[in-house]
């Protein structure tokens, strides 16, 4: 029973990270209608920035996190300006391929800059943990911080989208770009802001990812990126609560499948569940049914 609880906590922690990454995917998709496959690699850049800030320059981890957020926000906006903006009128396939290109570019640039030798992310919380039931149930501080960060981000983001003027503009753009423009919303600016927010979230996710799973290589972000994309689709792409639900469910399924069925099959089971959900509910768990007008 206790080991079940341990697995559950691990699952929620992993799922929280997926959820934060999935938010970036889902927001960008919702507003720009494009899949930003470079998102996972921005995570990796954020993790590297924090790694060097903390281990090479001996800065406080919070300063490292802030630096990572700044660098990633600038990087995300820059990528949007240089790579995606010129393609605003192009087919979605062209944008998709560009995103994959950007992803490869970031990975290889990281390899040139920082080599492919794995780096171990510093143990910011020094292995501190809460032990319950004679040390049978262990909750590490990084797990708690990850889950707390996920909840805080979710609340802030929902409030931002629902209440602020920019949030309103985002919702308008996601519904109908043309109409939004006619109403005087600067669509290009709104898309840029979305990218900036998504990239800042990626930085947070990168730091959290590496405090829990400390191996850092130039490809660190690619698999969590794909998983988070899956989580976004699972929960209903374009929906913020959907990203949270999808992420956490995905994390729990992955850990539980590994623990109780087979470690070799855990990924297969995750994707099998995804296929099942999409068969029954093609828009994902919380996705909105949008009728295409003919």
């Amino acid at each position: 029973m206790l080991s079940f609880l341990n697995h559950l906590i691990n699952g929620i922690s992993l799922g929280s990270i997926y959820a934060i990454i999935a938010l970036g995917y889902t927001m960008v998709y919702g507003i720009a209608k494009m899949l930003n496959f470079a998102h996972g690699d921005i995570i990796m850049v954020g993790a590297y920035v924090c790694f060097f800030a903390v281990s090479s320059f001996q800065l406080h981890p919070v300063v490292g996190l802030l630096l990572a957020i700044i660098v990633c926000t600038v990087l995300g906006t820059l990528i949007e300006k240089l790579a995606y903006k010129p393609l605003r009128q192009a087919t979605s396939l062209a944008v998709l391929i560009t995103a994959i290109g950007v992803s490869y570019f970031l990975q290889n640039a990281a390899q040139l800059l920082w080599t492919s030798n794995p780096k171990l992310f510093p143990d910011i919380f020094n292995g501190a943990a809460i032990k319950l039931f004679d040390g049978e149930l262990i909750i590490t501080v990084s797990t708690l911080v990850t889950i707390a960060a996920c909840i805080v981000i979710m609340i802030l983001l929902t409030a931002f989208i629902d209440k602020s003027k920019t949030g309103k503009a985002m919702r308008a753009c996601s519904e109908d770009k043309g109409a939004a423009q006619l109403m005087g919303i600067n669509v290009n600016r709104t898309i840029s802001i979305t990218f900036a927010i998504g990239s800042a979230l990626a930085a947070v996710a990168g730091v959290l990812l590496c405090t829990t799973y400390p191996s850092l290589v130039p490809t660190t972000g690619s698999m969590p990126g794909i998983k988070a994309f899956t989580a976004a689709v699972f929960g209903g792409i374009g929906s913020v609560p959907g990203a949270l639900l999808g992420g956490i469910l995905l994390g729990i399924i992955e850990i539980m499948a590994g623990a109780y069925i087979s470690t070799s099959l855990s990924n297969a089971i995750v994707f099998a569940v995804l296929i099942l959900v999409l068969l029954i509910k093609p828009t994902g768990l919380l996705g909105k049914q949008i009728r295409e007008k003919v």
Partner: protein, 403 residues
């Protein structure tokens, strides 16, 4: 501006015209050409670059002696078998005479087939599966999947031998009552060691209580695997894998307050020099490895110092194996005497096929032994596998100590 363009055009035409003649005429080599493929970019680049760097150091050292001259060239295969074959072909176009094989195993399984068809001598530093050599029966089915390639030799241990040696060591030293294994089941290196370890462990009556796996896609979260070992009450965890995963497993074990003995293989080498690794995590970890960069002998010290000076890193086992490959070939050629002409020059134009026959004979000769960084008195037989003794090491106070 137009004039400039015209001149450029003219020059281009001239250069192209000259190129037409470049292929003509007797060209003579001024060195024996060694070539190899390895991941110089991509996720496995750490291994390819280590091999490339170390092979260069060995060649520079030999060339500086003033005797026979070597030239070494590595082509990038990004740890992809298909690209490795392309890389191998472009090395053949470059007139490679001796092949240092591929660095990683899957590409090695592909390029060794090509090299066998071309009959070029193939000594790989680190592609360690049984199928690189061929002619080895699968331990589970007893069937020989791949025919023996008579020109292919290994400098590293063959994977099954490592698994077997580890099981024997654990059993004879009575290191563990209940054994857990975590291995990477999408990597031939890890599964090769695991399969032979399991067979040998069963034969020796070792008690395996938990077996869990991971893959490339699930190589960050080890909470499930470590919890399974803990719940099964294992007092020794066997880790046939590379160090970057082992480092995560050690951390996870510490986080949940689980402290069994850990036993690794040669892929564990490198863990102490990993950026940001807390060496106290590895305290007491045991491993069988042919090379450690902290060894006190002159040969290792000189190599490590040189490598650090040129590349700013501590060389890993791959580097040591590559360095040994070049020196073993040098020794097999009788330090160049075998290729010496009567007038004191060297026969650099010898064909790859002639060299291949010469080297196969030299390597399998009963009196051929080679002592290098990764072992003393290594020998080879016609099956291509190296015979050398792994050293049992334990990590104490952040350094390897012989057991």
């Amino acid at each position: 501006m137009k004039k400039f363009a015209k001149i450029v055009c003219l020059l281009t035409v001239l250069v192209m015209a000259l190129c037409c003649f470049a292929g003509c005429g007797e060209k003579t080599n001024d060195a024996i050409k060694l070539g190899g493929t390895g991941p110089l970019t991509g996720g496995a680049a750490i291994y390819g670059n280590a091999v490339n760097n170390a092979a260069k150091i060995a060649v520079e050292e030999i060339n500086a002696l003033g005797g026979i001259q070597f030239e070494v060239k590595y082509e990038d295969d990004t740890h992809d078998p298909e690209k490795a074959v392309n890389a191998y072909n472009s090395l053949m176009d470059w007139n490679m005479q001796i092949c240092l094989g591929s660095v990683t195993t899957k590409p090695g399984e592909a390029t060794s087939v090509e090299a066998n068809e071309d009959h070029i001598f193939y000594l790989t530093p680190s592609a360690s599966s049984a199928n690189v050599l061929g002619g080895v029966a699968d331990p589970l089915t007893g069937v020989v999947d791949v025919e023996r390639k008579d020109n292919v030799f290994q400098m590293c241990f063959m994977d099954p031998s490592q698994g077997k040696a580890s099981a024997e060591y654990i059993s004879s030293q009575k290191l563990g009552e209940k054994i857990a294994i975590i291995y990477k089941n999408d990597e031939v290196y890890s599964t090769g060691i695991y399969n032979s370890f399991k067979l040998e462990a069963e034969a020796l009556g070792l008690n395996i209580v938990s077996t869990t796996t991971f893959t490339d896609d699930t190589d960050t979260d080890f909470s499930v695997q470590v919890a399974a070992a803990k719940d099964a009450g294992a007092d020794l965890v066997f880790l046939p894998m590379y160090y970057e995963y082992a480092a995560l497993i050690l951390k996870e074990a510490k986080d949940i307050g689980y402290a069994p003995k850990f036993f690794g293989v040669d892929g564990m080498d490198g863990i102490l020099t990993m950026d940001g690794f807390d060496t106290s995590l590895a305290e007491g970890v045991m491993l069988l490895t042919p090379f450690n960069a902290d060894a006190e002998d002159e040969r290792t010290k000189a190599f490590v110092a040189k490598y650090q000076e040129e590349y700013g890193e501590i060389p890993n086992q791959f580097a040591a194996d590559a360095y040994d490959c070049v020196y073993a070939i040098y020794q097999a050629l009788d330090e160049g005497e075998a290729l010496k002409n009567e007038d004191g020059t060297y026969n650099y134009d010898i064909t790859a096929t002639e060299l291949c026959d010469m080297l196969i004979e030299a390597f399998t000769a009963s009196d051929f032994t080679f002592s290098g960084l990764t072992g003393e008195n290594m020998t080879w037989t016609a099956d291509g596998a190296v015979s050398k003794t792994p050293k049992g090491m334990v990590i104490q106070n952040g350094a390897y100590v012989g057991m």
